[in-house]
Structures are given as structure tokens and as C-alpha cells.
Symmetry: C2
């Protein structure tokens, strides 16, 4: 009996460990992360592991091959993984999350068994049992009966393959990739090591001359019994092709340590196992050199096991995510919240190597930083809420991001617009860097060279000729708007206005009165595009006439149209966050404004999936008495578009912008006018939200948002430290210096 009892206890323990460990210990914020959210419905996130703001990441790559519903070459597809797809061709080691153009998705590792096959369309496989968590992803590969597990440190992807008995292979395909660039170089250093590079770049089909290398070193935990490089050369077309019996055929180069270059090359590491065995592969990444990739690998993961790397990165995630603690709400609420926060912590990401080195813009030299050099600045998206969120919760990161932007100014002569891995891609329109910097600065992040930043902004705002940030600036300054001679002239005018407003705020803070007046005036020039008949903004031609014919609905769903970028007149109608009061006046008063705003939703022109109108729901707060509409609309949109499902993002995450919208919306506050240190308030979706504040930047240890009565009713009053606020707006200063913001519902 005693014996039996012992066994029972032991069994119970195992049972407990196996089945309850998740639920028992899953109270940590990191445990709520579901990396599958956004992997469908063009969310463009990936489910594989990455460290917070990591350089390396691993994604299952299932967008090659006609078996897949969404195939990378058959349409515009910007992600390495699509949840509905079924045919897996490996695991890419560098990836971008939530963008709208195909890029990176290269260095594709794949375990196979049997004879070496180098054509991914042949070696690809169905798969099952996907598991994705913060810092971990695993999957079973049907064709080979191989279990594949992945984790990552900041600059190193770690893969662990469990192979059955027999011949096993680990392929590193340097041809296949999501990027449209081609070209790679590889050298097998030994039976446990590979080094090389892969060309990537021309993001969104811009700046092809700046296409750049990602360098790597791969180390294997077990020496291969055989290794080699394959190369499928391009077909020779000349006279001599007749003597080249091998023309265009894949070459298998066994056990060679020579350097091989080509557009379609890869390596195979082959094992003969007498029993089930595991092999771990660590792949260090660098944008500087192979040597740095090797050092990154050694310093970050040198002697660490897969489990140790996973644990450390999990802990990093947990620490970052714990900066905001939520109480109340359902498990799904916490999951979408923490997953969104997780998605805001992917980009901007680390560019510099472990030793601090990074390539400057245009790659004219290698520089070195003591802090973090950040990259992947999708500023047209992120200025709206992602950077304001970072300023609030991760101000040191925001500070380093601004320092990175100023470095880019030093290197390139211009603040960034859409920077990716030290390439200025000039994607999208506007001059959003100014807004990001001013927003942070006015929120108290000031440990950077503010004057340099100010003059960098002025350069972008004032230099008429050869200004890559603000095309059409001359016309904008002269007329107040861009005419239809330029791309998306109304949108661009609005963006310039918003930037100019941010600059005016900093000018004011710096006592630059003339600049303040000048930029304040400039920031309102969108009004010249206001068509009072339509109550919409509308493009004008170069001679000042309204552009005809004009269809305000044209331009939805990313359709090209004259006047607007990625949107139409309805979607852009309210995108003057700094002058909503002016817009109210233009529209003829609060009621007309509120009606027109409501109409955007009623006629289904509101686009939750893109940035121009994402602040719209909050604009009802500008109309006394209509604030409940903001509360209801935000609640409705969260429910409709954000879910604990792969399709639980409304479209491209836009490097965390959609996710930041959700994080703010669930906390009940929103940075309604980027640049302006102010939040507007709706109903929090948790009972209590505690934001830990960084003592280096903020006086208080934390700020708590509480919801007093958890009903579906409207907000009755809002209290800061027990004192009722007399509006639905609160300054950043009041907020972070408060203790408790209490939202009291009916």
C-alpha cells in the first residue's frame, strides 16, 4: 500500500508538471502572449521566437509552393508565415513583423531525412502540432517525423531538431526568401560551422542601390558526418552552352570549405543516426560582418543549452511585459492585451552587434554605440501611438530610438522616414520623425541633443531643394498645400501640417517665438483643402481649382487615387489631430462635426486596418456630451477586430501600431494628438491597470488606472487622485505625476 501510495504521488506529480504547469504558473504576463495573433488576415506577424527588440528571429516559412493558399510569388505577400497555409519549407532566421512589403525572411533552415534534396518545392512538408509562446515555437514536420523547436536571444536564433534514426539532414537554404533581393555567399568552416551572407533590401521596391547583406554564422551541436554546398547556377546562354552538359543544373559540392556565391545556393549537413537524436543549431546574425555574427553567437549563447536560451529570453519578455500589470478582464482580454504589448516590443529593433558596432546609413562606414542602435522605423505608422506608448512605458528605449534617429541625421543628412537596417527606404509620405521626437521630448524624455534634433527638424521642414523627406515643399510653403502634381497631395499636406504642429510645440518650448508662429500657421494650412460643400478635404490642381472629377469614396482598400495615400477623403477627413477644434469650426460646429464623424462609420468608410483614421473613435471626446460614442465605438472596434485568434488583428500590424492602439484602448487612454503630451480617456477594459514608471524619467513609481464599476454603461466621472477631472482629456504630466486615474462608470 505504501508503495502504491508513493507511485500515486509520483504519478500525480508528473501529471501536475505536464498538464498544470501552464495553468498554475501561467499567471505571468509573458504566459499570456499568443504569437499566432496576427498570423492570418494579413496581420503579417510571425509566430516564431524573438527576444524583445531582437535582431534575430525565427519564423516557420510556409509561403513558397503552390500548395499554399497564399503564395509569396503569386501576389503581394509580406510575411514569411500564413496561418492557413499548409506547406512548410523551413524556418527563416531574420524576419520583419507586421509590415506591408515582403522583406527579409531569409537564411531558411530545414530539417529533412533520407537522401539530400535541395529543391524546397520537393523537400517541403505538411506539419502539425504547432506551439507558439513568447520566445518559443515548435512544430512536428509530417514528412520526416522530425520535431522542430525554436528559441532566440537578441542576435541569435536557436533551433533544436529531434530526428528519428537514419539519415538526417539540416539544410540552410540561402536562395529561398521572402525578400525580392537575391545573392548569397557561404563557406562551410568545419563540420560544425557555417559562415556567410545573404543580400536583402529594396524594401517596398525602394532604394535598390542600398540593398545590403545580412551576415551569419551557424554552429551545430553535433559534427556532421557529411556536409556540402549546393548551387543551382543560372543557365549559360552563350555559344559554349552546347559543351556544358551541366548547364543550369544543381551542383552538389561535398565536404568543401570553399567560398561559394550565387543566387540559389545552400548548405547541407548530414547525419547518420543509430537512434533518435537531437541537433541544436545556433545562428548568429550581424549587419556588420561575419566576425561580428560569430561574436554575437559566442557572447549571447556560447555554452548555453536551448533550454537556457529559452528561459533567459522568456524572462526578458516577462520583465518587459510586466511593466504593465492588468487585473480583471477575461483570459482572452489578457491574451490580446499582452500579445499586443509584445507586438509593440518587436520593432524598432536592435541593429548593433554585441560589441556595439553597426553600419551607418548608406553603409559608408561602421560605427559603434554604447547604448542601442535601433532600426526598423516605420514612422508613418508608429508616430501615432507606438512611440507615445514607448515614451510612457519604456522611456529609455524611446530615448535610444531618438538617439538612433539623430545618428541617422548625422549619417544621412536627414531624419529617418522609413528606415530599415540602415537603409532609408523613403516609403510612405510625410515627415513623421519630428512628431516622434517632439512627443517624447515634451513628455520629459530629454536626454538627447534637443537643439540638434530641433535643427534637424527645421532642415526637413525648410530646405526647399533636394529634400527627400518633403517632396513638394516649395508648393506647400507657398500655397499651404500640395497640388495634384504630387502623389497623395491631400494626405501629404495633412502629414506636413501635423509635423509642423509638432515643430511649433518644440519651438515654443525652446522659446523660438518666430518659429513657433511660423509653424503654427503652417500647421493649419490643410484648411485650404477643406471643401465646405462636401465637409471633406479635397485635392486641388496646381492652378488652385478643385480636382475634378472627385469621388470621396475612391481610394478605399488601398486602391490608388488622386489626393490620398492608402485611403480616401472620408478616411482622411479627420486626420488633423492638432486642430480638431479648428475642424469643428470649419464643419460648422460640434453637432455637424459629430454627425460627419459618425457618418464615416455609418457609411462604412472607417478603416480599422490602416492608420489615417484610427484616432477617429476618440474624436467624439471633443464634443461635450458625445463622449459615450467614443467609449462605445472603441469597445465595439476592439471586440470586432482584436481577438485571441490568428486573424485577431485587423490587418498589417504596422510594426506594432495596431497593437499599440489596442494597448492604449484597453487601458482607456489614447494619445490623441501625437506631439502634444495629452491623452484622451475612454473606458478601461480591465479593473485595474498598473503602469510601472522608469524612475530615470518619471517621479512616481507607477500610475494606476482603475475602473470603479464594471458595467457596460457610460463613464460618469473621471478622478485623478480622487479629484474629478472636468474633461475627458488629461495631460501627460498630470497623468504620470498622479497616483490613480479612476474611471467611474454609471
Amino acid at each position: 500500500m505504501f508503495l502504491n501510495k508513493r507511485i500515486t504521488i509520483k504519478t500525480a506529480c508528473i501529471f501536475y508538471m505536464l498538464f498544470f504547469s501552464i495553468s498554475i504558473f501561467a499567471q505571468q504576463p509573458a504566459d499570456f502572449v499568443n504569437p499566432f495573433i496576427g498570423t492570418s488576415n494579413y496581420g503579417a506577424t510571425f509566430p516564431g521566437p524573438i527576444a524583445p527588440r531582437g535582431m534575430a528571429s525565427i519564423s516557420p516559412f510556409n509561403v513558397a509552393g503552390k500548395q499554399n493558399k497564399l503564395e509569396k510569388d503569386s501576389q503581394w505577400l509580406s510575411n514569411p508565415y500564413v496561418n492557413e497555409n499548409t506547406f512548410l519549407t523551413g524556418f527563416s532566421q531574420v524576419n520583419i513583423s507586421g509590415v506591408g512589403c515582403p522583406e527579409l525572411g531569409v537564411l531558411i533552415l530545414m530539417p529533412t531525412t533520407g537522401a539530400v534534396e535541395t529543391n524546397h518545392l520537393k523537400y517541403g512538408s505538411a506539419y502539425r502540432n504547432e506551439v507558439a509562446k513568447a520566445a518559443y515555437y515548435s512544430v512536428d514536420i509530417d514528412k520526416y517525423n522530425v520535431k522542430a523547436e525554436f528559441t532566440a536571444s537578441k542576435r541569435v536564433g536557436v533551433s533544436k531538431f529531434t530526428f528519428p534514426k537514419g539519415q538526417s539532414n539540416i539544410l540552410l537554404n540561402l536562395g529561398l526568401g521572402l525578400t525580392n533581393e537575391e545573392g548569397a555567399m557561404v563557406k562551410v568552416v568545419s563540420s560544425t560551422e557555417i559562415e556567410g551572407m545573404r543580400s536583402v533590401g529594396s524594401f517596398c521596391y525602394n532604394s535598390p542601390e542600398d540593398a545590403y547583406p545580412v551576415y551569419f554564422v551557424a554552429k551545430f551541436s553535433k559534427p556532421a558526418d557529411k556536409f556540402g554546398v549546393w548551387k543551382k547556377p543560372s543557365k549559360y546562354e552563350g555559344t559554349e552552352a552546347q559543351w556544358m552538359t551541366y548547364n543550369g543544373k544543381t551542383r552538389m559540392m561535398d565536404n568543401t570549405i570553399k567560398t561559394v556565391v550565387g543566387d540559389s545556393i545552400g548548405t547541407y549537413f548530414t547525419y547518420k543516426f543509430n537512434k533518435q537524436e537531437t541537433v541544436e543549431v545556433k545562428i548568429g546574425i550581424s549587419y556588420v560582418s561575419i566576425e561580428n555574427a560569430r561574436e554575437n553567437l559566442e557572447k549571447e549563447t556560447g555554452n548555453k543549452s536551448f533550454e537556457a536560451v529559452y528561459k533567459d529570453t522568456y524572462n526578458e519578455w516577462n520583465e518587459e511585459l510586466s511593466k504593465i500589470l492588468v487585473e480583471g478582464g477575461s483570459g482572452d482580454d489578457k491574451t490580446i492585451f499582452y500579445t499586443a504589448l509584445y507586438h509593440t516590443l518587436i520593432h524598432p529593433n536592435t541593429l548593433n552587434d554585441y560589441n556595439g558596432e553597426y553600419p551607418v546609413i548608406k553603409r559608408t562606414k561602421i560605427a559603434k554605440t554604447e547604448d542601442t542602435r535601433y532600426t526598423t522605423f516605420s514612422l508613418w505608422d508608429t508616430y501615432r501611438n507606438m512611440h507615445p506608448l514607448t515614451s510612457l512605458v519604456y522611456p529609455k528605449q524611446q530615448s535610444d530610438m531618438i538617439k538612433s534617429m539623430l545618428e541617422m541625421y548625422d549619417e544621412n543628412g536627414w531624419l529617418p522616414k522609413w528606415e530599415l537596417n540602415s537603409t532609408e527606404t523613403f516609403t510612405m509620405v510625410g515627415d513623421p520623425a519630428s512628431i516622434v521626437i517632439v512627443d517624447a521630448c515634451l513628455k520629459g524624455i530629454q536626454d538627447f541633443d534637443i537643439y540638434k534634433a530641433y535643427y534637424a527638424m527645421l532642415k526637413g521642414a525648410d530646405q526647399i531643394e533636394n529634400n527627400p523627406l518633403r517632396p513638394g515643399l516649395k508648393e506647400y510653403i507657398e500655397k499651404g498645400y500640395l497640388s495634384t502634381n504630387y502623389r497623395g497631395p491631400v494626405s501629404t499636406t495633412q502629414e506636413y501640417n501635423t509635423s509642423d504642429y509638432a515643430i511649433s510645440l518644440l519651438a515654443k518650448a525652446l522659446g523660438k517665438k518666430d518659429d513657433y508662429n511660423r509653424f503654427t500657421k503652417r500647421s493649419l494650412s490643410y484648411r485650404k483643402l477643406y471643401d465646405s460643400d462636401l465637409k471633406l478635404l479635397r485635392p486641388r490642381t496646381a492652378n488652385g481649382k478643385w480636382y475634378e472629377p472627385f469621388d470621396p469614396v475612391s481610394g478605399a482598400n488601398f486602391e490608388e487615387n488622386v489626393g490620398f495615400i492608402e485611403g480616401n477623403a472620408w478616411q482622411y477627413a479627420f486626420m488633423v489631430p492638432h486642430d480638431i477644434k479648428g475642424l469643428i469650426k470649419l464643419m460648422g460646429g460640434e453637432k455637424e462635426f459629430s454627425d460627419q464623424l459618425q457618418k464615416v462609420f455609418d457609411i462604412k468608410q472607417f478603416d480599422m486596418a490602416n492608420e489615417p483614421d484610427i484616432a477617429n473613435p476618440y474624436l467624439f471626446n471633443y464634443v461635450k456630451g458625445d463622449e459615450w460614442k467614443a467609449q462605445e465605438m472603441v469597445k465595439k472596434l476592439v471586440k470586432e477586430y482584436f481577438q485571441n485568434k490568428p486573424k485577431g488583428l485587423p490587418g498589417n500590424d504596422d510594426t506594432g501600431t495596431m497593437s499599440a492602439w489596442l494597448v492604449y484602448s484597453m487601458m482607456g487612454i489614447y494619445p490623441i494628438s501625437p506631439g502634444d503630451p495629452i491623452y484622451t480617456i475612454t473606458t478601461p477594459m480591465f479593473d485595474k491597470i498598473t503602469i510601472k514608471l522608469d524612475p530615470k524619467y518619471y517621479k512616481k513609481e507607477n500610475i494606476v488606472i482603475e475602473k470603479e464599476i464594471n458595467t457596460d454603461g457610460k463613464i460618469n466621472s473621471i478622478e485623478l487622485n480622487g479629484k474629478t477631472l472636468n474633461s475627458f482629456f488629461i495631460s501627460h504630466e498630470d497623468f504620470v505625476n498622479g497616483k490613480t486615474l479612476k474611471v467611474i462608470q454609471n
Copy 2:
């Protein structure tokens, strides 16, 4: 008057220096070298500088572009330079001399002026004032008014460009090349340095999987005002091509230090000169790594000026060429002689880096040597006379070559057949390595592992299955010949016979009586292919019947034919050098033999341009009384085919084989039966020839060949140290231990 006198003296001095320096000082052997010899008539030599057995070499590259009479892509063309061509597209930094397949001819440097143009068909130019000497080449480039000068050390090419005032550019084109391989990698390290690699290989369309990198580092004497990399990417064909406005267009990447890979890439270094200026470019080469290329450059040419490098390499050449001193003869005689000797000192060439490292066959690892690792073993050609010449005059080099061959055996399991830069290309037929080794060994070069060499030979001669050296070996052993099931069965049988004879000689020397008997017997099996009706060798089918229809003339001029490789029945009729006495018997006696031999010439089937029959003229020496025919024929052939002109070689130099034939022929001796340490004698073409002997291998300091009466008459008698020889043959031992070989004419 005094003053005037002084001026006169001074003027005279300048005059003397300018115009007489060449003739006054040009008494050195190196001064007689005319590198233009062989640059026309498919000689396939190049006129640019190379050090003795150098790894690096520079050749003007004028075989691209339709302006050229002979264009590399419009026909089979195996050389980077053709004397008749007129359109120059640069200067290649690694080249092969005198081979029959296009290879290397890459890393093409080109000076231009004005705006940077990267298309060689556009930046190419006419040129004039070519000067070529040992270790030096210069040319004026019409289009740019640039003087280009070149020299080289063993592993480094040195270029010196004199630019006019204005914008000047130095392009390094890594796309253009003579090789059929593609793919390169490049990284500009700084405004004075470039590093990278270029893929080359699949020589003669063999072993494509062994295509390999040539690594390089280029250093510029002046920092560029601007530099960059260009890349012409392949054209993208997918759906996304519609968004790629830059699709397939050349990208100019200014001032970047990133690594760029591609099939069509290059670098530009640009200068703005206020006056005429010179820039020197040193390009170090390595087949191991970029680091080694850099070390080669630093150690060989680090601080040396162009002039210093030239002087050192010139001196090296002079020292090597001075191993044979000739007296008498015309200037042209000396020129064709020393140029031929120069051509025998190009290949085999050095493979190892300055630090001794080199890639092993198949590039599975890097090995290290204390001596020299040689490469470029065109053995089917060179076993006949080039290696025998090297054994006589440069025995240390020959010893290192044998050691290199034995290393290849260790690395690859087989002695080399046609090895190029650690790639076994398996070009041509036969098993010639054995002959080379035995020949050297029996001449007294024995400082290598003779037993290992012996067993390596036996492996090639005896392993029936999977024998890459001797296809058809089973049939050969069983029947004594290859049937028409195999390629060139008669030729191949003859080659195997010759190799077997060499092995039998070594077996005898080693006291291996059984092997001696076995291989002696095998060496005579060609006799089964003797058709006594035709008095020619003739192919047999697998069932032993003569192959029908049979045209003995078919196969001339490299025409494909059944039976023979690169020749026909007439050209191969006498290629049994080890059994001429047997052949005489087969043919029915000396007269019949002599008549048939004479017929080869009379019916114009003798081919001076290829190897199978090049010993033919000397075979008259086997017929008592007909030796004068050998003397006349050799003299006639030298006069007809070897001249101080670009077309002064009878065809491909075959890595020095044609040149070695000339060197021997002009010295009046010929290694008539390779493997057998014996020479046959004709009339020397100089009054006195002094061959310095290497004291490490030979007892005497030198051996002198003298011609006593310089008429055009027949040889009357031959004396060794005053003692009359009773034949036209002399053993190597007698020769090198003699003091004077005097050939006395009528």
C-alpha cells in the same frame, strides 16, 4: 668651346642612355624574352607580366566585344588576349598560358576617365604602343589618354596608371571574364582597399561541382575621392517585377563598404586630378582566403614601388633563364629560344600562398607546405618534353612538382591527370603522371617518396573499377586495347602503353621483377591494333573486328573521330616512343619504317601544333643513315613554325610543351622516350650551349653542347668529352656527367 664640349658629352650620354641602353645591356637572357610570341595563331599565351611559375599574372583583355576579330563568346577561344584584336576592356589579374579551354581571365582592372561607365562594351577602347618584356607590359589607351603599365611578383599583380588631369576611374570588373563560371563577392574596405572573390572553374567543361573561388585584395597607392560598387542584377521574372522599376538595371552603390555578391558586379575608384597623376594598384591573389591574399600582397610587395617589383621579378626571370646560356645564333634565334624557355617556366605554377597554405583537391581542407605546391598540370602535353626539360634544368622544381602530385594522390586517391588549382578536371586521356615521375626518378631526382609514388602508379594502372584515370582498364588488360566502346580507343591504348612502360622501368629499378615483366608486356599491346595492310594503328570494335569504315585521314585538325583523340591514324602512327624498334619490326624493317614516317610529312598529315606526333622528326634517328632527315626536318620545322612574331608558335603552347620542344630542338637534343632517361641528338642551333646543373641533383657544374662547324650540313660525328659516340642517342647519365657534347658537322 669647353662648354660646348660638355654639352656634347652630356647630350651623348642622354642619347646613349635613351637609345643604347637596350642594346648595350640587353645581353641578359631575360632581355631576349618577347612575350608577344604565341599571342596569335591560337598560341594562347599572353603578353602581360608574370613571375617565374607565378600565381598572379596580368594580361591585357581584348577578347570581349564584337569589334574584336576573335570574340570569346562567338567561338571556342581560350585566351584573354589576341594580338590581332583591337578592343581592350581591361587587364585580367589571373590567367593561364597556352591552354585549349577558356579559364580564369578574371579580376579585370580598367582605367577610364570622365563619368563612370560600367558596361565594358562601352568603356572599352582601342589602344597602341604595346610594350611587352619579361615582367613588364605597357600600353596607351586611346580613348582615355591613359598610359597603363604592369608588372607582377609571384602572387601579386602591380598596375600603374598615368592619368591626365580631370576625373579618372579605376574599375575592377568582377563579372567579365574568360572563364565560363560566374559569381563574385566584393567589399570595399576603404578608399585604398578592396577585398573579394570571383568564382572560376569547370575547366574544359569538366568537374563543374569543383568550380572554385579566387580570392583577392587590391590596394591603391592613392585614396579614391569616391568609390563604389556596381551591380547589374539578373532580371526578376515574378509577379512583383511590375513594381520593380529598377528591374535588371545596374545599381551604382556609392561609397559603400557592404559586401556585394552577384554575377555582374564591380568596383569603381574615382579620382579628381588637377594635373597628370599616377596611381598604382597592387592586387594580391590567393586560392585559400582573402586574409592570405592580403598577406601575399603585404609580404611580397608591401612597401615596394612598381619599379622595385619589376626589377625583382626581372632579376628572377634572368636568373632562371640564365640556367641555359647560348652563344652564337641570331638575335631572333635567342629571342625564340629564351621566350620558349620563359614559356616553360610559367606552368606548372605556384598554388600555395606566402605562408605555405593551399587548398587540397576538392577543397575539403587547407594544407600547408614548406616547399612549393604546384598546380596546372596539363600532363597529357607536358610529360613528353616539358617535365623532362624541368628535370634537367630545374630539378628542384621538378622534385616539388612530383611532391605536389603525390600530395594530390593523398588528397584525392589518384595521381593527377589534368589538375588546375586543386581541381582534377580529368581533361584528355591516358595516365601520364606515372611517366613524369619515372622520368624524373630515373634521371636522379629521387628526394620524394618513391615507393608511395610507385604504388600510386600501380593503383592507377591496376584498379579495375571506378578508376577515373584509366577508363576501360578492364578491357585494356583483357584484350590489350580499348575497343570503340571507349572514346579515342587507339590513342588511349597508346597512352596506357606508354605509362605502363614507364612503370615497368621503375619496377625494374626497384627490383620488382614480376611487375617489370607484367608492365613491359602490357606496354606492347598496342601492337594488336597494328593493321599491317595500312601500316597504321586502327581501332577495333568490342568483338575484335577492325572498325569500319575507316579513314586514316579523318581526325585531323581536332575533328572528332572514332579511334583517336585530337588526331588521326597518321598522326598517332608512331606514338609508341618506348617501342620504336618493335614498330620498325611490325612495319617490316627500317626502310619501310622510314618511308612510312616520311610519308606522314609528305602527305601533310604531320601536325606540329599538337602533341601526338611531335617526336616524329626525331624518329629518323632510329634508322641508321637516315639521321640527317631528323636534322633537316627539325631545322625545317623550327624555321617554319617558330618565329619572333606573335604567330611564332604553331598553336596552343600547351603550358609550355611546344616551347619545350623548341628549347630541346635548338639545343640539339630531345627526350625521345619519356620515362626512359635518354636523349636523341640533332644539330644544335647555337654554337655553344651551357646548361648550368643544380649541384643538389647533379655532380657536374654544367654541361656544354657545342657545334663545331656551323654549316647547314649533316652531322658527321658526335663527341662526348672528345670521345666519339657510336649512335645518335645518349643516356641522361652520360650527358649530365659529361663535360662537353660536341656535335661535329660536315
